[in-house]
Symmetry: C2
Subunit: 100 residues, 2 copies
């Protein structure tokens, strides 16, 4: 969870996730959406990948990035433990949250 929260603690990185929600993008396409240098975006992608919030796949000379919903679901379970919503908590139990 540490790397996940670290990755999410930056507006640009959260915006990258929103972009990838729409569909896969290459590193260059992602960089073109922001007013930061390519190395800076590359660094952000690295942190998101360390958190396993995204995965990368080499496609020829490009590298394509996409969301990894597995970790999103773990985060969801973590948040649910604090929710006041009883039915969410029940679902949480179904999802097998065990604390950590």
């Amino acid at each position: 969870m540490n790397t996940v929260f670290k990755a999410l603690n930056d507006k640009t990185r959260r915006d990258i996730l929103e972009l990838l929600k729409e569909g896969d993008r290459t590193a260059g396409e992602i960089a073109d959406h922001f007013n930061f240098s390519k190395p800076t975006i590359s660094h952000h992608l690295d942190l998101l990948r360390q958190a396993e919030l995204i995965v990368s796949e080499k496609q020829g000379q490009f590298i394509s990035y996409s969301l990894n919903t597995t970790v999103v679901d773990e985060l969801l379970k973590w948040v649910l433990q604090f929710s006041s919503n009883a039915s969410e908590k029940a679902k949480n139990k179904n999802l097998g949250y065990e604390g950590q």
Copy 2:
């Protein structure tokens, strides 16, 4: 959301939330659970309060802290938008998520 993710990006602060999940605690009681100075814990409580993840109430000479599930639910909605779980997404719609 910025202050929320900032507040969550620290193990000690997440542990404080877990502690408050069990019930309200005074600043001193919270500090006693950690191997950090009271000023350090006070600072962490301040950041959690800025994010509105917790609320404080003065009770005589003590200050009692408790969870604020309202912001937890907002966070939940934010995470849900990335979830692959379709029924969760439907629920998300019911909760009125509008993006941000």
